[in-house]
């Protein structure tokens, strides 16, 4: 399963392609592509939107408790926001999608958990 992400050109926000073909700030709203061909078509189309989104790329997504999460640790940080200043990221929204991101175990290569470092 894949999702399409990038950063908005004008303000740099990390965004995800949603079900309406628009760019949404919340990973929870991301369209999840089961079909690789559809994912790649969406990526190709996004690359033509040079004045809207910068460097769009596909990320792997896996099921997680209460939802889905990006497989890659980096992408989970990107979806959540900086862990040292949660009020600056998207973490304060709370909810199931955020919980999924925080506690997710990826498969095989990427098992990193963001809540491991105790403060």
């Amino acid at each position: 399963m894949k999702a399409l992400t990038g950063n908005l050109l004008d303000d740099g926000e990390a965004v995800f392609l949603d079900h309406n073909g628009r760019w949404a700030p919340r990973f929870a709203d991301a369209e999840l592509f089961e079909d690789d061909a559809a994912a790649m078509a969406a990526e190709a189309h996004a690359k033509t939107q040079q004045t809207i989104v910068v460097d769009p790329y596909l990320i792997d997504v896996v099921p997680a408790e209460h939802g889905f999460a990006p497989l890659s640790f980096r992408e989970r940080v990107r979806a959540l926001g900086p862990t040292n200043k949660p009020e600056h990221g998207k973490k304060t929204e709370g909810g199931e999608a955020i919980e999924a991101l925080l506690h997710a175990h990826g498969a095989a290569r990427s098992k990193g958990r963001l809540d491991k470092i105790k403060r």
Binding site: G12, F73, R74, T83, G112
Partner: protein
């Protein structure tokens, strides 16, 4: 302080107009990202994980109050109310918008600031001793030469497309507070036996994937030839530096592959063929720059201050005086450190409110000067001893008076995976966890001088190679792991850290540091520093302390 004249201001105006136009063309889709990106980078504007990041230059780490105040304003108006001071004494704003960047640059230009060449394969900000002009032990004020280099390197037509970035650091003092051995060019001011002022020129230092301590390629370069000699070094690099492999493109690789002597000969040959008089600054210009940094407004005061001594009856102030107040060359004055390392906070971060406060203190108590150290702290360089108590009270109320300079909680940490697209692991939470373990100021004082430096990836922006305890974040099967090195030092007699053992998972790092400190305290002789104990005992007791327990 050097104040921009009309020509310097025109430069900024032309630059901001140029960037405004380039930005507008990008936003309108007239140029692609591939075409715009190198331009964007040459203006210090990165696209990171969450947002655009603007790296504002703070030439040789020196700020006026007006400049710091303006940074605080920009952080509030265009960012999330804070900035991050880096190990190159610049400041980063982590949440700017591209569409606002031209306006931000205009605001910066109002106070003679910019983001020129804070990124890209060009000559970056020249860093210098943050105690310049205030310390008794300097042969000359390195800021004079840093300003000369700033101008010479700005929009340098031959050296804006180097194989890789290029970093220069200058110290005027034998006590190297600018880490000159770990930069592409390190310059050490001294007088030779005849009393002539000159530079010892070191080339090919660097951290990152292959750390090197820069060898000396010329023991004494008369100061008036600084620019022509540097042109020779940069030209040899520009022509012969590797461009086939990003990881082998720094000058350190060229110097190592040729050997320091052969490299020095290449430079000397190029220099001999150079029309030096065309490139070197005339005496009038050097005198103009020197005059800008001349000391002013110092009162004639007794060397000790009764008020300062009396204030030490407060143990908290006494502790602050022990660690955060340094000797000044002028009797009755002091150099006061402003700690951006309160345990639990993000190292090097400073809120807009804090910036405004420090700017006010700089204006009122420090002759309008503030400095940035590469350890990511700030400094008020010219405070009267009589005023230190008042300054301390103001700093303390704003969480800026942690008495920890050089101690275990004075941690250098890069932004890491929380912000940076290059990172493999987070650095900030590791720093916070360690600092909180040693938050008790009495404990930190007991441990003594101990430089912990944390990098979130091999690019080593956290300087982990030269940490007494260095911590490097790595990605091991998607988890955050950390390799620990011991015994690094950025001082005049610099050393690179030695690997302690296998990388540790994130939740074991703070405990490991605890064990290392215990091992040190049990081995320590005659109040030696952690670094000295390590140099005496080697890795063995420390390895045992961490790995006997780790599994």
């Amino acid at each position: 302080m050097y104040r921009y004249d009309a020509i310097d201001q025109d430069m900024l105006a032309d630059r901001t107009a140029e960037f405004r136009e380039q930005c507008a063309r990008r936003l309108a889709g007239e140029i692609t990202e591939d075409q715009f990106k190198p331009v964007r980078l040459m203006n210090g504007l990165y696209l990171q994980l969450h947002a655009y990041m603007l790296r504002v230059a703070i030439p040789y780490g020196a700020l006026t109050s007006a400049q710091l105040r303006k940074l605080g304003y920009i952080a509030t108006a265009y960012d999330k109310g804070y900035g991050h001071f880096t190990t190159r004494t610049n400041i980063q704003l982590h949440w700017v918008k591209l569409k606002d960047a031209p306006d931000i640059l205009d605001h910066l230009a109002e106070v003679g600031m910019h983001a020129i060449q804070t990124s890209g394969n060009d000559i970056r900000n020249i860093t210098a001793d943050p105690h310049a002009g205030a310390t008794a032990d300097e042969a000359d004020d390195p800021r004079i030469w840093a300003e000369a280099l700033r101008q010479w390197s700005t929009f340098h037509p031959e050296f804006s497309f180097l194989p890789r970035k290029f970093k220069i650091a200058i110290t005027g003092s034998p006590k190297d507070r600018a880490a000159t051995k770990v930069y592409d060019i390190g310059l050490r001011l001294h007088r030779d036996d005849a009393g002539e002022l000159g530079f010892e020129v070191l080339v090919g230092g660097g951290l990152g994937r292959t750390p090197y301590l820069g060898p000396t390629i010329r023991q004494h370069l008369p100061v008036r030839h600084l620019l022509s000699y540097l042109q020779a070094i940069l030209r040899v690099y520009n022509r012969h530096g590797r461009r086939d492999n990003l990881w082998k493109a720094r000058i350190k690789v060229l110097v190592a592959s040729l050997g320091a002597e052969a490299f020095a000969r290449e430079v000397e040959a190029e220099w001999e063929a150079t029309d030096k008089a065309a490139i070197d600054l005339p005496d009038t210009e050097l005198a103009r720059i020197r005059a800008a940094f001349a000391p002013r407004d110092f009162e004639t005061l007794p060397p000790t201050s009764a008020a300062f001594e009396a204030a030490k009856s407060d143990p908290a102030f006494a502790r602050f005086a022990r660690h955060n107040v340094k000797a000044h060359k002028v009797p009755g004055y002091a150099i006061v450190d402003v700690s951006l390392k309160k345990p639990g906070e993000t190292p090097g971060d400073c809120s807009s409110e804090q910036m405004a406060l420090i700017a006010d203190l700089g204006e009122r108590y420090s002759q309008d000067e503030i400095r940035v150290s590469y350890e990511q702290n700030l400094i008020l360089p010219h405070v009267k001893l009589d005023d230190v108590k008042a300054v301390w009270k103001a700093l303390d109320a704003a969480d800026l008076a942690t008495p920890n300079m050089g101690l275990i909680t004075d941690i250098i940490a890069c932004p890491g995976l929380d912000y940076c697209a290059l990172a493999n692991a987070r650095a900030i939470p590791i720093a916070q966890a360690i600092a909180l373990k040693f938050a008790d100021p009495a404990l930190a004082e007991k441990v003594g001088e101990l430089g912990i430096k944390i990098s979130g990836c091999i690019n080593a922006c956290g300087h982990h190679h030269v940490g007494a305890i260095g911590i490097l974040g790595v990605d091991k099967k998607g988890e955050e792991f950390y390799q620990i090195t011991l015994g690094g030092s950025p001082e005049a007699e610099a050393t690179l850290g030695q690997s302690l053992g296998p990388a540790l998972p994130a939740d074991k790092v703070a405990d490991a540091v605890d064990h290392l400190v215990d091992a040190y305290l049990s081995q320590r002789q005659d109040g030696e520093r952690f670094l000295d104990t390590f140099r005496r005992t080697g890795l063995a007791p420390f390895k045992e302390a961490v790995y006997a327990d780790a599994h």
